[in-house]
């Protein structure tokens, strides 16, 4: 057990608490992505390389992408109501 592992554990707890406490949903999702990456490094330290590869591909990749797409869809649904028909193609700050 070396110092890197202790630092990673600290970062993991900080990321977990921050993902819960942040007010902006987008920031929260990005912190959750970082949480998954740190978790995959910890699994490499715990001598479970299969888990590390799977978590890096699945947790940080696929599930975050699904959440981002859900956010996009929510904004599209919301904009379809608040704007006139057909006028929903300009870019909007996230």
């Amino acid at each position: 057990m070396n110092y890197i592992e202790i630092a990673l554990l600290g970062l993991l707890i900080i990321c977990g608490i921050a993902a819960s406490l942040t007010r902006n949903l987008m920031v929260s999702l990005i912190i959750f992505m970082a949480y998954s990456v740190i978790m995959s490094i910890i699994w490499a330290f715990l001598r479970a390389p299969d888990l590390a590869v799977t978590e890096a591909a699945v947790g940080a990749g696929i599930s975050s992408v699904l959440m981002f797409i859900t956010m996009k869809k929510l904004r599209d649904i919301n904009r379809g109501f608040t704007q006139e028909e057909g006028g929903s193609h300009e870019e909007e700050a996230p």
Binding site: M1, V53, V58, I69, R75, D76, G80
Partner: protein, 303 residues
């Protein structure tokens, strides 16, 4: 200090609904064909009863940070007390690490399954039935998402922002360079599953990620010629059926003491470890199709 903390916690609890906060009533443009899609009428919230209920709710909400702290510390404290009773971390003398089970798997795993990676030998040979059920869970989840998404009435162009992304030069060139490498890396992980870290799950997820990147950067119509609902059904059902029949054959032969055509072979070769390589390929196909199917269903409402 304490007041600041309480204010922060209350803000944490009450904020965060930026989608709903934009929705005020006079912003709504009512269209007659949208009657079934309108948000519910909120005028009843102005009555006396509703106002009393709202003040009660506000008082309850004010207590939520207190609940939160008490709950967090109660759960964490109880579990920490349990952790102090656990055996020391990393010791070899615990019941899980010194018992019969682990010794059996490590000692005879290589000679019985032929897999150099003992974890692959466990999940695809000793516990292959578990993995079969899990592949079916993925299939069932895709069907559930498909049902939920197909119930919606889609507009003509539901992904206007993703269409803007398609003209992004940086994204296109990045995808052009990295998608072939990602695909090759995913196939390597799948085929190398019994020789090193990896296997069907991680390799399938990498391939699914590569397909998602390609579909985001380029027109999804070009990918839909290859991977549409028809080919999705064909691939997934063929993979799950192959898995089931191969394990049926293996269980039947094993129970009756017959010789199977899938032998353990020489450990370390690519064509060794009996059924593990074909089963890894089947699981990888199911996982990659499921991951791309999730993405496609979420963006376009269909595969």
């Amino acid at each position: 200090m304490k007041k600041k903390l309480l204010d922060f916690l209350r803000e944490w609890d009450e904020g965060n609904f930026e989608f709903s906060m934009k929705m005020t009533e006079n912003q709504l443009k009512t269209r007659p064909e949208d009657q079934d899609r309108l948000p519910p009428d909120r005028s009843w919230t102005r009555t006396e009863v509703a106002r009393a209920a709202q003040s009660e709710e506000r008082a309850f909400r004010r207590l939520v940070p207190v609940f939160m702290g008490v709950f967090l510390f109660a759960v964490a404290g109880f579990l920490l007390y349990v952790v102090t009773e656990m055996p020391a971390f990393g010791s070899s003398g615990t019941p899980a690490n010194s018992g019969e089970v682990m010794r059996r798997y490590v000692e005879s795993g290589l000679s019985e399954t032929g897999a150099v990676n003992i974890v692959a030998g466990i999940i695809l040979d000793y516990r292959a039935f578990d993995t079969l059920g899990e592949s079916h869970v993925l299939f069932a989840a895709t069907i559930a998402v498909m049902i939920l998404m197909l119930l919606e009435r889609e507009e003509e162009e539901p992904i206007s922002e993703l269409r803007i992304l398609r003209n992004d030069l940086v994204l296109r060139n990045t995808a052009k360079i990295s998608v072939p490498f990602l695909l090759v890396f995913g196939i390597y992980i799948i085929l190398n599953g019994h020789l090193g870290p990896g296997g069907g799950f991680s390799g399938g997820a990498v391939i699914g990620g590569a397909l998602i990147l390609y579909s985001t950067a380029y027109a999804p119509e070009s990918l839909r010629k290859v991977l549409n609902l028809r080919s999705y059904r064909l691939i997934v059902i063929a993979a799950l059926g192959f898995y089931s029949f191969a394990k049926c054959y293996s269980f039947f032969c094993g129970a009756n003491g017959l010789e199977t055509v899938f032998t353990a072979g020489t450990p370390g070769r690519i064509f060794s470890a009996g059924l593990i390589l074909p089963l890894n390929t089947a699981v990888g196909l199911v996982v990659s199709c499921t991951m791309y199917g999730f993405y496609s269903l979420f963006t376009r409402g269909r595969i």
